[in-house]
């Protein structure tokens, strides 16, 4: 043991000597983080990629944010009022908001940013249908004039996941939404260090010294964004074993997305702590392509709601019950609109009932082409479970193996499965994406304007529209129940349960914020 300690200290001395020779000795507090992927696109409005959203939370700020209870709270906004008729919203920005180029954040910047976001994001587009005018009252106050009342405005402005309405300087927000921005100035708690961005290697963010956090304690994405480190480095490490070794050795401080099979090893490592930082977790979903048989028939789709057993999927993919939860609520267990309505008898493997529905449907033996991504550990075990359940109820299933990127390309093809199209696949969403009928991407049933799978359901669209127009929370809940009851007989997709991704953090790290999106304010690093 003495030999080991001695040799370790010699090695450490060598490292320090190396650092001194290179002039690298300093007392900077750096939080080294391994994110789930490389940062590729630095425009969180141009793409819906999660990494770009995460980048957005570093560099930009939002007008409103959600807390850990899913409630919308002011973030850049100091005060706001809604007129009695619900047609006028007046907002005032907090004092001291500055962009990274030290220019103050103004109403002009806010309005320009919301216009760009509203042209790109589905929920933003919906909100803009209610907004007749956005008026700049003065530098720090602005007004929304609505053409009819809606409960959507604050929900949309506090939308936590892609695309998030981040606020940019007006000159940058003037960029066409179809083009990427080329200047990276925000007013968020971190400054993007463009020169240190090495694609495939790392991205660096320095603490924005002039950032003024809110006075309230941090709570999810809401409250004060207090930064306690000088710099955050997102380090690209692809190999799961190397990530764990690097965390154990103190070379990195946080792993956003570790492989579940390494968790027992990490639990036993005294240098690593495990936290569940995202209380909403993630949701597995089975997506139908409704353009082609057999899933153009709602009875066949409903049969799968009976045939599938959430527990079977969750055991296959996650394994440990500590990290998953069966949940029949489409809009995520634990949210204010969680309900089992419509799914009470479903999602628990009722094969007899599913078989009966298949017989009723007149299924003619058309094979189901189920895409099977073999390169993503968290998705790879799921399609065989779906195949087994479908075969039990009499469907013919062809499992086609491919890498995820091939699947991403193929899922946008509307051709018949035999001509390069598809019938079904399984994916996973960050639960906050699916926490509202308006934000749930797969619930959009607007035919060719819907996401891949292209469901076409006027009733669902009408109910979503009613939901967006309804300002009263109680009445919104009644609409949610109706939506679920409709989806339970004419499914757009099937929710296969929630799973959780524990975040491993170094033993010397504290203050990690609980949030549905990985954010890096709050963290403290002891020497």
């Amino acid at each position: 043991m003495g030999f080991i300690n001695k040799s370790r200290s010699i090695a450490q001395s060598l490292l320090i000597a190396g650092a001194l020779v290179s002039g690298g000795a300093h007392a900077e507090k750096v939080l080294n983080v391994n994110m789930h992927s490389d940062l590729k696109i630095v425009d969180p409005i141009w793409t819906t990629a999660y990494m770009s959203r995460n980048y957005g939370y570093m560099v930009y700020d939002t007008l409103f944010s959600i807390n850990t209870k899913g409630e919308i709270k002011p973030q850049m906004i100091d005060t706001y009022t809604i007129s009695d008729d619900g047609l006028t919203y007046d907002f005032t920005l907090r004092d001291g908001l500055l962009f990274h180029d030290n220019q103050p954040v103004t109403s002009e910047d806010v309005i320009a940013s919301l216009k760009r976001w509203g042209a790109k994001d589905a929920m933003g587009q919906k909100m803009m249908t209610f907004v007749s005018e956005m008026v700049e009252v003065n530098d720090t106050s602005f007004q929304f004039k609505l053409n009819e009342p809606t409960g959507l405005v604050l929900q949309a402005l506090g939308k936590p996941s892609s695309n998030v309405p981040f606020i940019m300087p007006a000159r940058i927000a003037a960029t066409d939404p179809g083009e990427q921005i080329s200047e990276y100035v925000g007013s968020g708690p971190f400054v993007f260090i463009e020169d240190e961005w090495k694609p495939g290697d790392k991205a660096e963010f320095a603490k924005f010294e002039a950032y003024v956090p809110r006075n309230e304690p941090g709570d999810g994405l809401a409250g004060g964004k207090v930064v306690n480190v000088d710099k955050v480095v997102w380090k690209v490490i692809r190999d799961q074993q190397t990530k764990m070794n690097a965390l154990s050795a103190g070379e990195i401080d946080v792993i956003e997305s570790p492989s579940h099979d390494l968790l027992p090893l990490m639990e036993a490592d005294p240098n690593i702590q495990l936290f569940d930082l995202n209380p909403f977790g993630n949701q597995y979903t089975f997506r139908f392509n409704q353009l082609h048989p057999p899933f153009d028939n709602p009875k066949v789709r409903e049969a799968l709601l009976y045939a599938f057993d959430q527990e079977e999927f969750l055991f296959a993919a996650v394994g440990d019950e500590a990290y998953f939860k069966t949940c029949k609520a489409m809009f995520i267990c634990g949210t204010p609109i969680a309900t089992e309505a419509g799914f009470e008898e479903k999602l628990q493997g009722n094969i007899a009932k599913a078989k009966a529905l298949i017989e009723e449907s007149g299924y003619d033996g058309t094979p189901v082409l189920l895409m099977h991504p073999t390169d993503l550990a968290i998705l790879e075990p799921l399609p065989p479970v779906a195949k087994a359940a479908m075969e039990k109820i009499g469907l013919k299933v062809e499992l086609v193996a491919m890498d995820w990127q091939t699947l991403v390309g193929r899922r946008n093809k509307q051709e018949a499965p035999a001509d390069g199209g598809w019938n079904a696949f399984i994916t996973s969403w960050n639960s906050v994406d699916n926490a509202s009928p308006l934000s749930t991407p797969f619930l959009n049933a607007a035919c060719d304007k819907a996401l891949f799978g292209w469901p076409c359901d006027e009733e669902i669209q009408q109910l979503r529209d009613e939901f967006s127009r309804e300002p009263d929370a109680g009445k919104q809940m009644a609409i949610v129940e109706k939506i679920q009851q409709r989806v339970a007989v004419a499914p757009t997709h099937i929710h296969l349960g929630q799973w959780y991704q524990p975040t491993p953090i170094g033993a010397n790290i504290s203050g990690a914020p609980v949030s549905p999106v990985p954010v890096f304010w709050g963290y403290e690093k002891a020497e």
């Binding site: 590729k40 692809r238 074993q241 070794n245 990127q405 509307q414």
Partner: protein, 313 residues
């Protein structure tokens, strides 16, 4: 000699043209859609189509190819679909780590493998020979990532002698640069030690049976002089060939080692670009690798003439 070199350099042009066409077509005919990847999971078909137009992917293949070749002729490899940076600058950033790893590995491998192979040949049938042969079998058989994990576990995690991962640019300090390269080079050199030692042994064995070696022994030259000056030099042609090929392999990317030790080199850049269907980056990298292969083969040919004056072109 000079006319030979000129001919060889000119012969590169059709090779690169064929490579350019094949890579261009393979990328476009392989399943996958860069626009869909870039747009993200919540993008609609209309969003993706707009992006395809922006990236120029909606144009017919011959038009896309003509644009690509036209830009290439001007030395413009294009911009990465994802990073919106010139591909050439991304490739340039990745060259140093890969080249450093390749040179360290080859240095380690030659330093160990050539003397070992020579001694094994000289002591044919001895325990030393058997150990070298056994090592070379193990070196060929054990996957690189297994060797990497074992070395990391013992030397980094348990003993703390080396960092688990990471690369330091030479400009940030030469000591740190060299220190961080030791473990990945050791890992990667195992297979090349096995390869070069085996090749050296075979070549030297062949030479040791030649008449001029017997003559040298009869003249009373020392064993070391016979081995180094007469045997090894005459056995050097195949050894140089294998070292050259090893360098080409190392430069064109050692994905597993770069991944395990987190070295941001050409191998990982290639892997990421292929996975993301980043056509301009893949095209530039394959073009670069083709040039490297051709150049290294040319250099090997030139070295032949220096080692063996009988070789003439």
């Amino acid at each position: 000699m000079w006319s030979y070199l000129l001919k060889r350099v000119l012969a590169v042009i059709p090779v690169l043209l064929v490579v350019t066409i094949i890579v261009f077509l393979m990328l476009r005919l392989t399943p996958g859609d860069p626009a869909a990847n870039i747009a993200g999971d919540a993008a609609t078909t209309q969003d993706i189509e707009k992006l395809r137009i922006e990236l120029g992917l909606n144009e017919p293949l011959p038009v896309q190819f003509a644009i690509y070749v036209k830009n290439l002729a001007k030395g413009d490899f294009g911009e990465s679909f994802y990073y919106k940076r010139p591909v050439i600058s991304m490739v340039a950033d990745s060259v140093e780590p890969t080249l450093s790893l390749a040179l360290f590995t080859i240095f380690f491998a030659c330093l160990i493998a050539v003397p070992l192979g020579t001694l094994a040949a000289f002591k044919q049938g001895s325990w030393l020979d058997r150990i070298v042969m056994a090592f070379s079998v193990i070196g060929f058989s054990v996957p690189v990532f297994v060797i990497g994990y074992i070395l990391i576990y013992v030397l980094s995690v348990k003993l703390g002698w080396f960092p688990v991962q990471g690369y330091q640019h030479i400009g940030d300090g030469i000591l740190g640069w060299a220190y961080r390269l030791i473990l990945p080079s050791m890992t990667l050199s195992v297979i090349f030690i096995a390869l070069i030692a085996r090749m050296t042994r075979t070549s030297v064995l062949e030479v040791l049976n030649e008449d001029y070696i017997r003559t040298a022994r009869a003249k009373g030259l020392s064993q070391s002089r016979i081995l180094i000056k007469h045997a090894l030099r005459n056995a050097a042609v195949p050894i140089v060939t294998i070292i050259g090929i090893a360098i080409a392999i190392l430069i064109s990317g050692v994905v597993v080692t770069e991944s395990v030790f987190v070295i941001p080199g050409l191998g990982l850049l290639t892997l990421d670009a292929i996975q993301g269907r980043d056509y301009p980056t893949v095209q530039a990298l394959i073009f670069l690798f083709s040039v490297v292969y051709v150049l290294i083969n040319l250099i090997i040919d030139v070295i032949y003439t220096l080692l063996d004056p009988r070789i003439r072109y």
